[in-house]
């Protein structure tokens, strides 16, 4: 076992990369849940985004187009969830699960001809001045653009929920949809928009996996990332900045166990591989605090 082979700077830098897909999916789902909807289909939306992004990027040669396609694909898939749960009043848990299974099947089908192909590269940004700071520079300021997009999204969602009228209305719908409806707010429309935003973010997160982190397409490549994102929303008590903590924690565990495996730690590989999932369970148990939005998961039907 050779622990010295682990480079701490690289470890911390790769932590941010590992955390980004989950961070993106989680912030999207946070907005959805704050509007009162529980969408368990994050895994399905992520993998659909992964395959859409990959296919478009490979065919067009542009990773940017790939990411846009991924967001669109995720949003489109989430729309089916939206229509089923908001207009046809279906059970949110069952529909979310259905979305996951459907997304896994759909992505496997679309991705058939793309296994083993290499995606166009996404270059790292080199933020002037900041990237040259010793130690911190390479860790924080030399990543690909999507990492920063993720962090910007977190800040944007936080500001949106706290300071804007639209954010206030979204929170109100999530707290008490009956009261929001009585006040004349279009509950269903607001929730649909939130659901589509969540789908787009999950799609982006999935595309990050297939275009940057891995970067290849394989069936089922999200390997539970969508579920972890759901857990992180709970862990974060539905507060945007806490998502960063949760995603980085998970990213940290993932990256650490991979490094320990490579360094030859005398623990069977399988037990290291299961550590991120066990860590998620522990996190869920220890932090079941915070109050969920009042209307979360409840079916809304205006009886006019």
């Amino acid at each position: 076992m050779d622990l010295s082979a682990i480079n701490p700077v690289l470890l911390l830098a790769s932590l941010m990369v590992a955390a980004t897909p989950i961070l993106l999916a989680a912030i999207g789902e946070l907005v959805v849940e704050r509007s009162g909807v529980l969408n368990l289909g994050v895994e399905g939306m992520m993998i659909t985004g992964a395959v859409c992004g990959f296919v478009v990027a490979v065919n067009s040669g542009s990773p940017t187009l790939g990411f846009l396609a991924a967001a669109a694909g995720g949003a489109a898939l989430s729309l089916t969830f939206g229509i089923l749960t908001q207009y046809l009043l279906s059970n949110q848990v069952a529909t979310g699960l259905g979305l996951t299974l459907f997304g896994l099947g759909l992505s496997a089908l679309i991705g058939q001809g793309y296994i083993g192909i290499k995606a166009p590269e996404v270059p790292d940004l080199h933020i002037p001045l900041l990237a040259d700071i010793p130690v911190i520079g390479p860790i924080v300021f030399q990543h690909d653009p999507i990492v920063y997009v993720g962090l910007l999204l977190i800040a944007a969602v936080w500001a949106f929920l706290k300071y804007t009228r639209a954010g206030l209305i979204l929170r109100a719908v999530g707290e008490n949809h009956e009261a929001a409806h009585a006040l004349g707010y279009k509950v269903i429309r607001i929730r649909l928009l939130a659901i589509m935003f969540g789908g787009a973010c999950a799609g982006l997160g999935g595309a990050y996996l297939s275009l940057v982190r891995v970067p290849q397409w394989t069936e089922g490549m999200t390997a539970g990332a969508g579920w972890i994102a759901l857990a992180i929303v709970v862990f974060a008590s539905w507060k945007p900045w806490r998502i960063v903590i949760g995603a980085y924690l998970f990213g940290g565990v993932t990256v650490l166990q991979l490094n320990l495996q490579a360094a030859g730690l005398p623990v069977p590989v399988e037990y290291l591989s299961m550590s991120p999932y066990v860590a998620t369970i522990l996190v869920l148990v220890l932090l079941s605090s915070g109050r969920a939005p009042g209307s979360l998961g409840r079916i809304f039907h205006a009886s006019n």
């Binding site: 059970n91 896994l104 496997a108 299961m274 998620t280 869920l284 148990v285």
Partner: protein, 360 residues
Amino acid sequence: MIRLEKRPQPSQVWIVATPLLAVIATMIAGGLLFAALGKDPVAAIRTIFWDPLFSENAWFYRPQLLIKAAPLILIAIGLSLGFRAGIWNIGAEGQYIIGAICGAGTGLAFYPMESVLIFPLMILAGLLGGLLWAMIPALLRVRFGTNEILVSLMLVYVAEQILASMALGLLRNPEGMGFPGSRNLSQYPSAANLELIKGTGMHWGVVAAFIAVIFAYVVMSRHILGFNIRLAGQSPRAAAFSGVSPGRLVIICLGVSGALAGLAGMFEVAGPSGRISIDFNVGYGFTAIIVAFLGRLHPVGILLAGLLMALTYVGGGMAQGSLGLPVAAIQLFQGMLLFFLLAVDVLINYRIRPARRRVA
């Protein structure tokens, strides 16, 4: 535009009709999908639904139906109890794996001894393995209020890693020339779960599935436990008022579904699959979720839905061979079935009416 108006009573007609409507809609949508993939839609639908039952080679494929249906039905029956109560066991796949490991491990521990007691012990081990694995999310929910969906799901990934570890380590066949995977249990007479009636595909797992259906039917329609499960799922406050203990219900429902999933895993590893290997699990735990909903969470419905789903597996395999239909298309097909069912379910509790025109 249309609008939905709540019915005073749930419609008995639509409760039975919606699964049929969903199947028909899926066939149409599936046909369109296959056409888009460049396959003859009619031929595809016929290969999937008709040929396994009635074609000239059906004698070979029909037994496959029971083999594929048994684990689906067994797991789905267990899941349906919890789902009806609002207790979501999504980790049945993990409980299935752990049950298989425990069952196989028990059997292999006795190798090469022969005894009639070994198989029953394996059954017990499979039951207990699945049950204990399901107790983790159950106890965490009762004690800490943790969401059982996420915990049971995380445990699926953990179980898969344990499976790999067992296939490569503890349970590896010492005479396997270093290849991963356990000894083949279906060749070990005391442990084998063999076909009971030649040519039907019926093994002990199939028998267990039928027993489970009958048991679930009796409990849900005639026992106070079934009443409490339905009550808790529909009106949690009324259930509390009635005196239902939510913690007890969680433990019973998760325990039963874990045990049944573990049992299904054990029957599978001792029979059709034969041995513990890294890719032993094929997703029955997740497909069973579709089966449960397709069967309207009702025991007889699940029996029929399990057979239907098995048909899509077997027919899909045939279509893969003869028409070059990709495997993923079948998975998509199954997902569509669930979606259509959820969509038409609305008709049970709501009527569709034209929207009112505004008053001038």
